[in-house]
């Protein structure tokens, strides 16, 4: 017997199958059509893992595109799912910070992994994956170059929180001759500070899991620890915690 969690985000579809003890996962790009790709990813995943669909007891969807899938049994919000997924991977955490493509989230959990409170960024893209994407684009950098470039640089201050304005600010700094790595470090710092204030408003304390694609950056993790004085731990698969949480929730 299996449950499946499927997290359809703006950039990637994450899928997890869980049998009550172990889990397997896959990550695929979302592409143009979250709805039809969601279904494709699901079918492909079952075939590749040699699971017949009759063995799947429940499918729970989450994420922005998750609401649109019609082959699933239930939809659960990312907040609940990330909370569950992170708690499953590390039961003594009390909070989650997730930097997603569109939303950054701070989630306060109790010892059972139940959500007590949460806080999200406001309408603008500040502090989200999107912010980093737009601004690194302006620097002509790829996301996987981030860490090695920003590792030992001292951050310049980037004051604009709006992604569009920050892009202009980055371009201006370049024109003035600022170094790329210092601008990049500055961008990461501004995200760290932003995330810190989200976490502060949701009262996050104790061990905090950091997830979402952006959480793969070691420099960012270090900065969140340092500037925001938060006890950040990193999970093995920070990208799949939403889908994992959904699958775990489905099992109960």
């Amino acid at each position: 017997m299996y449950t499946v969690g499927i997290d359809v985000g703006s950039a990637a579809i994450k899928i997890v199958v869980y049998d009550g003890e172990t889990y397997r996962y896959a990550i695929e790009p979302t592409g143009w059509s979250p709805k039809s790709n969601g279904e494709k990813v699901y079918k492909k995943f079952l075939i590749e893992n040699n699971i017949s669909s009759s063995k799947v007891k429940r499918i729970i969807a989450t994420g922005y595109g998750g609401r649109r899938l019609d082959f699933v049994d239930e939809y659960k919000s990312e907040i609940t799912c990330h909370g569950k997924g992170c708690h499953y991977l590390c039961s003594d955490i009390r909070g989650v910070i997730d930097i997603g493509g569109q939303d950054s989230k701070a989630i306060l959990l109790n010892e059972k992994g139940k959500v007590l409170d949460f806080n999200l960024n406001d309408k603008c893209a500040a502090g989200t994956g999107r912010f980093l994407q737009v601004t690194t684009n302006a620097l002509d950098l790829d996301m996987d170059q981030i860490d090695c470039l920003a590792k030992d640089s001292s951050p310049l201050s980037i004051d604009n929180m709006c992604a569009v304005f920050a892009e202009t600010e980055v371009l201006n700094l370049l024109v003035q001759g600022a170094k790329k790595d210092e601008i990049l470090a500055g961008l990461l710092k501004s995200i760290a500070l932003r995330v810190g204030s989200l976490a502060g408003k949701a009262n996050l304390q104790g061990k905090i899991a950091f997830c979402g694609g952006v959480a793969q950056s070691q420099v960012l993790r270090r900065m969140v620890k340092e500037y925001c004085n938060l006890n950040i731990i990193t999970l093995k698969n920070p990208q799949i915690t939403g889908a994992l949480g959904a699958a775990v929730l489905g099992f109960k």
Binding site: S77, F118, L120, K123
Partner: protein, 375 residues
């Protein structure tokens, strides 16, 4: 099940505009007003029509942004946009406008609006602990009375004022009785419909007809309550910046996700209805007392809002509070932090404007809130 009488309220705003036009052609004066601080009793005691102008639509905002900053509260941009485009019949028919120095955005916008219509802008003391605030407001009401006389040529007498105070008290009591029907679970009237009825109050051309319809509606709702069975989604109280007809976005998301919007604490809800005007006192003094006690975030500190919200949470057996902050509304935005600490229920703040661009984000917040309650 939806009450049949709601059809009357569905078309109330559009039809009242036609009636007001007719009355105006017969020589009746019309005075517009914006917010719950406006002593409407005074306007009506002069014999003029009072019409609500609070603007809650996206439509005229682009036009307004030609004069106003983009990062301003949509309510202010919308009201100004309606003023300069002649797209709102109520503003168009208004011979004069009554307004107040609520937030900074509004009061500076009124300076621009004053070029379009004759205006009286009443000065709200922004400290709720200022000793002379009631006296001050009484003087402002007298100033408004003089303005009505000079601008519209209409007199307010003590007896006409007393009469209007009585009528409005009756209306407030009745509307609170209507709201109280939502103490039932499931609620007999949806939050969007309740808003429509309360909102319609500011536009109606005929008070007697309106009141009669509210009474019929209440009878219908009682029957609906008797028939309906118990289970339904979480009971939500909405508070924060004014949420009006045309901008029910958040309320709709809550209700589409299975929640019940039981009532609004906001000024488009019960904020202005919970207190009556003392009918035994000097009418000006009594008006000043009632209006200076409105728990709006433009006064500081605004502890009464915390008390009111908490009382409503208990009385109406509320499961969660949703605090709506219009973008760039600093007063409600900052106050949200305190409110969250004071309120004894799960709480989220939603910052938004009138555009539809963030509906998905709002859904995420609301569904997370519901999962948090249900788990």
């Amino acid at each position: 099940m939806r009450a049949k009488t709601m059809e009357y309220f569905d078309s109330l705003i559009a039809e009242s505009a036609i009636k007001i036009k007719e009355e105006k052609e017969k020589g009746k004066k019309v005075m517009g007003y914006y917010c719950v601080f406006s002593p409407v009793e005074l306007i009506e005691a002069s014999g003029a029509f009072s019409v609500g102008l609070c603007a809650t639509k996206q439509e005229p905002i682009a036009e307004a942004e030609k004069h106003l900053p983009r990062n301003l509260c949509p309510l202010i941009k919308s009201s100004y946009g309606f003023a300069i485009t002649d797209k709102c019949p109520y503003f168009f028919f208004a011979d004069a406008v009554m307004a107040e120095t609520t937030c900074d955005g509004k009061k500076k916008m009124y300076e621009l609006m004053a070029d379009i219509k004759p205006m009286v802008v009443l000065d709200i003391p922004n400290s709720s602990v200022y000793r002379k605030r009631k006296e001050h407001w009484m003087e402002e009401i007298h100033r408004a009375k003089d303005f009505i006389k000079d601008e519209l040529g209409l007199e307010v007498t003590e007896s006409s004022l007393k009469e209007k105070i009585k009528e409005h008290n009756e209306e407030r009591k009745l509307l609170m009785e209507l709201v109280e029907l939502n103490k039932f679970n499931p609620t007999p009237i949806s939050g969007a419909d309740l808003l429509k009825v309360l909102w319609g109050r500011q536009f109606k051309a005929d008070r007697e007809e309106y009141i009669a319809k509210v009474k019929i509606l209440m009878e219908e709702l009682k029957e609906i309550s008797l028939k309906s069975d118990k289970v339904k989604g979480p009971r939500v109280l909405v508070t924060g910046s004014p949420t009006g007809v045309g901008q029910e976005k958040v309320i709709n998301v809550i209700e589409n996700l299975g929640g019940q919007v039981v009532l609004q604490e906001a000024c488009s809800g019960v904020k202005g209805l919970v207190d009556l005007v003392d009918e035994d006192k000097n009418p000006y003094e009594a008006l000043a007392e009632k209006y200076m006690d409105i728990p709006c975030s433009c006064t500081s500190p605004n502890t009464r809002r915390f008390e009111l919200t908490n009382n409503l949470v208990k009385e109406y057996e509320i499961d969660a509070v949703v605090d709506i902050t219009l973008q760039a509304c600093h007063t409600y935005n900052i106050e949200s932090y305190q409110l969250k600490k004071e309120v004894d229920a799960p709480f989220i703040q939603i910052e938004t404007d009138y555009s539809e661009s963030d509906v998905e984000q709002i859904k995420l917040r609301v569904s997370s809130l519901f999962e948090l309650i249900n788990e």
